[in-house]
């Protein structure tokens, strides 16, 4: 169900917690309300924590894609300015 257009992609596989979320947060703040961000992240801590953290910031999680290579792509829709 690719019923969304990705406005931007951010790769957080090169940083560790808590910078993972900070980097994702900065990326989504650059976007406009309703834009969709693709957050490319590692398995482990990031995938357990970043989705929830984005949700707690008020954004809407659309999907989490398992790339089967130890990475995931979190598809988030920005809510608010």
């Amino acid at each position: 169900m690719a019923d969304y257009d990705i406005a931007d992609t951010v790769d957080i596989t090169d940083v560790v917690c808590p910078v993972t979320f900070v980097k994702a947060k900065v990326a989504i703040e650059e976007l406009d309300d309703g834009d969709v961000l693709d957050v490319h992240m590692n398995d482990g801590e990031p995938v357990q924590n970043v989705p929830r953290s984005m949700k707690e910031e008020g954004h809407q999680i659309l999907k989490l894609i398992d790339n089967k290579d130890g990475t995931y792509d979190l598809i988030v829709k920005k809510v608010g300015e």
Partner: protein, 298 residues
């Protein structure tokens, strides 16, 4: 007149090796002290002690080097600042707690609130030996509850909400017990035999797709002094405070009725039998016990 050291000890005054000198243990619940209380403690430590305090292993404060002659004045000064002495000896001791769900993102219960309630119910109660309560907000167990005679950990009883789920699978990854699986249709399945109520599925979920009931995982008979024992679970996950306090009442009563003088709770359990204790606490868990003075003709 002879000094009643037992009475002083019961009132929190610990005799030091120096003659007529005491380390005053203060009452602290769940490691929480107000700034105003600290000011009173500061004044007393400067005026009557040696200008310092000791933080105890159980989250308390002691003011060392209080002289016997000053005890009444010290108590009066502390009372003005809302500070009261703690207890030592064979009775229910300081209830310890982490900050729990009041502040901590991991907390499943308000550990401080439970600690305050346990303190109100049992603090200072005379028993055959010391008895310790500890409360922690979650399975991370920062408070190390198994070292207590009665240890409480917060947890969640969980149920998947299919209609809210986006099928992301984060909960499968977050579960450390391997209790959650996702089938080909994206549906989540929980193996409750493996679930340890840690609540990580709930806390990690980006879609609020879990119903959950906060509750308590209790361990009994822990101690970390001359002998060491981890407290052990003896009842299922407790889903409400009434049941928690029923189980706590039954535990304290069991110790009061079966313990020998100077015998720690784990030794009572080993001597009298865990089997016998388990029957008692499970009856309490199931609401089969009656509170004392609560007998009706039913």
């Amino acid at each position: 007149m002879a000094v009643d050291y037992a009475a002083l000890k019961a009132g929190g005054f610990m005799r030091q090796k120096q003659k007529d000198t005491f380390s005053l243990r203060l009452k602290v619940v769940g490691g929480t002290v107000t700034a105003d209380q600290l000011a009173a403690v500061q004044d007393v430590a400067n005026k009557y002690g040696h200008g310092y305090v000791h933080l105890t292993a159980r989250q308390g404060i002691e003011i060392p080097f209080i002289q016997l002659k000053d005890i009444d004045a010290v108590k009066a000064d502390l009372a003005k600042g809302g500070v009261v002495p703690g207890v030592c000896g064979p009775r229910v001791r300081t209830v310890t707690a982490c900050q729990g769900g009041r502040c901590c993102p991991s907390g499943c219960i308000d550990a401080l609130d439970i600690a305050e309630k346990l303190d109100k119910r049992y603090f200072g109660r005379e028993l055959n030996h010391k008895f310790k309560f500890g409360v922690t907000g979650c399975r991370n167990n920062c408070l190390k509850t198994e070292e207590n005679d009665f240890g409480v950990k917060g947890g969640y009883d969980v149920k998947w909400k299919e209609d809210a789920c986006i099928g992301c699978g984060v909960c499968v990854k977050a579960c450390r017990e391997g209790a959650i699986t996702q089938d080909e249709d994206g549906k989540i399945h929980v193996d409750y035999a493996k679930c340890n109520n840690c609540g990580r599925c709930v806390k990690s979920c980006p879609a609020d797709a879990w119903d959950y009931t906060p509750g308590f995982i209790v361990t009994f008979g822990g101690t970390f002094g001359n002998n060491m024992r981890f407290g052990e679970e003896a009842v299922p996950f407790i889903k409400d405070e009434d049941t928690l306090f029923r189980v706590a009442d039954a535990t304290i009563d069991f110790f009061a009725e079966n313990g020998l003088p100077s015998e720690r709770f784990f030794k009572t359990l080993e001597r009298v039998g865990w089997d016998k204790f388990k029957v008692v606490v499970n009856d309490a868990y199931n609401g089969k016990t009656k509170k004392k003075g609560d007998e009706t003709d039913g």
